[in-house]
């Protein structure tokens, strides 16, 4: 068991690619932290630096109390699950799991015990004699997990381990990974570009953008108080509406009586914070045109344009549309559901 500490971690590839630009982060012992961000933001690079597969250009990396900057991957006592699983195709499932133990000089009986134990946990004990080629995607995924957990390492690293599975299996494996991590309490760093996966899986999220941290916090902290416009737009689906302040006209209250902090020029409004009936609390009343109605089973989406400004916005609701497409409607937003931003710095202002 160990914590992971990143101090001013930087990675520069030849040719001036600043993939990771100074990351400070501490992952507590037993915690599952998810690194989330759009493709190309440096998630894999950061994870691979922790694994020892990329050199560290600058900064300090500690696992426990030990600085591991220059240690080989094998000496860091970590295990990694790769995106394409990276199973050894010429070895049986048993040997795939046993390989790391054999290399570390474990006794034969001990290896057998551990492999069977891991296989049982992951429900792959029926396939131990098969080659990876003859397994389904989900089974391969389990073998990849098994290879990580037989060694009982200090740290688990995951690089988009579910992105090759179909949607249904992805949800199922997500739940299993979380259960497993809860049970083993192994410190874990998990990389994904899928915000839903990140929200549901992580004890804490680290939102990464262009090699820098945008925000660190629990999923709910990040969802309810995004620190930047980038985070606000990235976390949550459908994405948060970003409306320039000047386009918001409260028809009940001509001189908009909001107490917004000074440099605010943009309001962020979650699609589910726009209501079709007026809430009890103080609120805005806005007129808009219903452009399109989209029913998606348990929820539906209304695409609207604000009156006078043509500013588009999305509403998430679970009811039927009150109007036909093309007609005017009134929508309501509680004051406390507004996220004030300064679009020049991209930062939250309250």
């Amino acid at each position: 068991m160990a914590s992971i500490t990143l101090e001013g971690l930087k990675k520069t590839y030849s040719g001036d690619v600043h993939a990771v630009q100074g990351i400070d982060l501490t992952i507590q012992d037993g915690e599952l932290v998810v690194l989330v961000g759009p493709s190309g933001c440096g998630k894999s690079t950061l994870l691979r630096m922790v694994a020892g597969l990329e050199t560290i250009t600058q900064g300090t990396l500690k696992i426990g109390h030990q600085v591991v900057n220059t240690l080989e991957p094998a000496e860091r006592d970590i295990a990694m699950v790769f995106q394409n699983y990276a199973l050894y195709p010429h070895m049986t499932v048993y040997n795939n799991l046993a390989y790391g133990l054999k290399n570390r000089g474990f006794k034969k009986e001990e290896i057998k015990k551990r492999v069977h134990n891991a296989a049982k946990i992951l429900e792959i004990d029926d396939f131990l004699e098969r080659k990876p080629r003859r397994l389904s995607g989900g089974q391969r995924q389990r073998v990849a997990m098994g290879r990580a957990l037989v060694r009982d390492p200090k740290v688990f690293l995951f690089d988009e381990p579910l992105s090759n599975l179909d949607a249904k299996l992805r949800v199922q494996m997500r739940v299993e990974i979380k259960k497993l991590q809860r049970r083993l309490k192994t410190t874990s760093l998990y990389v994904t570009h899928d915000q839903l996966e990140a929200m549901t899986l992580g004890d804490r999220l680290v939102v990464l953008n262009a090699g820098k941290i945008e925000q660190v916090g629990t999923p709910m902290e990040i969802y309810s108080r995004p620190a930047t416009m980038f985070v606000a737009g990235f976390i949550g689906s459908p994405a948060m509406n970003m409306v320039p302040l000047k386009y918001i006209q409260d028809i009940d209250n001509k001189n908009l009586s909001l107490n917004l902090p000074a440099p605010t020029d943009t309001l962020g409004i979650r699609p589910d914070a726009i209501c079709l009936s007026p809430p009890e609390s103080p609120h805005l009343t806005i007129e808009a045109t219903l452009e399109l109605f989209e029913a998606a089973g348990s929820e539906s989406h209304l695409y609207i344009r604000l009156a006078n400004s043509e500013q588009p916005a999305v509403i998430r609701t679970n009811g039927q549309p009150p109007q036909h497409e093309g007609e005017m409607l009134r929508v309501y937003v509680a004051h406390e559901a507004l996220h004030p931003f300064d679009s020049r710095t991209g930062k939250r202002t309250d």
């Binding site: 990694m80 790769f82 080629r133």
Partner: protein, 294 residues
């Protein structure tokens, strides 16, 4: 399933397009091969006046001939040595180049050059390098008190043709090994590194097994090369000597047929050689290939 089929307006066009390849195969392979089979069951007197059908007598004769059996054994040793040496060196080079590949277009090009050299030229090149009187290598070996003279020592002559023949094939093997190495996904190697395997262990337990389809293919190609294509190298360096020490099957065919004018025996030997290569290839496909598929 969709299958694409080209259709030609003119029904003779496909045949016309195939013709050059077919003619070449016919003129340079099928016809000589059938001639060889035909003359292997005949006896022709040295002046070519009279030809008699004698059945399998030529075959019986060569199989009873101790010089033929010696050549057979020698060819086996030669094949195994050349294949091992050229594939070993090629694999070593490919592994090195694969590590630095992004910057190594230059090396790749350089390492392919030997393949563009004709067998005879390669032979002459090594003949010069190893020439007991003027060559560089005997001069260097002299420092280690090794007296190099492949005109006298049969073993040294074998070493010379083995090096010359292997060198020629290194480029070809290198290209295939490099392509094979490139097709092994990097994460596999990284996973093995995390699993605590040192570079050497990683190579033997992950890389080498995954290269086995390439290795298998190259073994067949190399054996074929040694059996048929090393004539030029031998002719330019040792001419089968000294005292028949480098007389391999293919050189003996030439020696008995063209120099010794024993067309019947020479033909029977070439049919045997074809048979041996076919048999080896068959065995390899049958028994080895099954093991390299995963």
């Amino acid at each position: 399933m969709q299958t694409k089929r080209s259709t030609y307006q003119n029904r003779w066009l496909p045949y016309l397009l195939l013709a050059p390849q077919l003619i070449i195969t016919l003129v340079f392979f099928i016809w000589p091969a059938s001639q060889a089979v035909k003359s292997s069951v005949e006896r022709t007197d040295p002046f070519g006046f009279k030809t008699t059908f004698i059945g399998l007598e030529n075959y019986a004769q060569i199989l009873a001939d101790i010089t033929y059996l010696n050549a057979l054994g020698r060819t086996a040793v030669f094949s195994v040595s050349v294949t091992l040496l050229s594939m070993g060196i090629a694999l070593l080079l490919a592994v090195c180049v694969n590590r630095v590949l992004r910057t190594s277009k230059f090396y790749t090009t350089l390492l392919v050059w030997p393949y563009a050299v004709a067998p005879v030229v390669a032979g002459v090149l090594w003949w010069f390098l190893f020439n007991p009187t003027i060559g560089l290598i005997p001069h260097l070996l002299d420092w280690f008190n090794i007296n190099w003279n492949h005109r006298v020592s049969g073993t040294q002559a074998m070493i010379l043709i083995t090096i010359a023949a292997a060198w020629k094939q290194v480029s070809y093997n290198f290209l295939f090994f490099l392509a094979g190495l490139q097709s092994i996904p990097q994460p596999l190697i990284e996973a093995a590194a995390i699993d605590g395997a040192k570079p050497f262990k990683r190579f033997w337990s992950i890389v080498f097994p995954l290269l086995s389809p390439t290795t298998f293919f190259l073994i067949i190609i190399n054996i074929n090369y040694v059996m048929f294509d090393t004539f030029g190298v031998i002719d330019a360096t040792t001419k089968g000597g000294p005292n028949q020490a480098t007389m391999t099957l293919v050189y003996k065919i030439y020696n008995d047929g063209v120099v010794g004018l024993n067309i019947g025996s020479s033909s029977a030997q070439s049919v045997m050689l074809m048979g041996i290569v076919l048999l080896l290839t068959f065995i390899q496909f049958r028994f080895v290939e099954r093991r390299v598929n995963y």
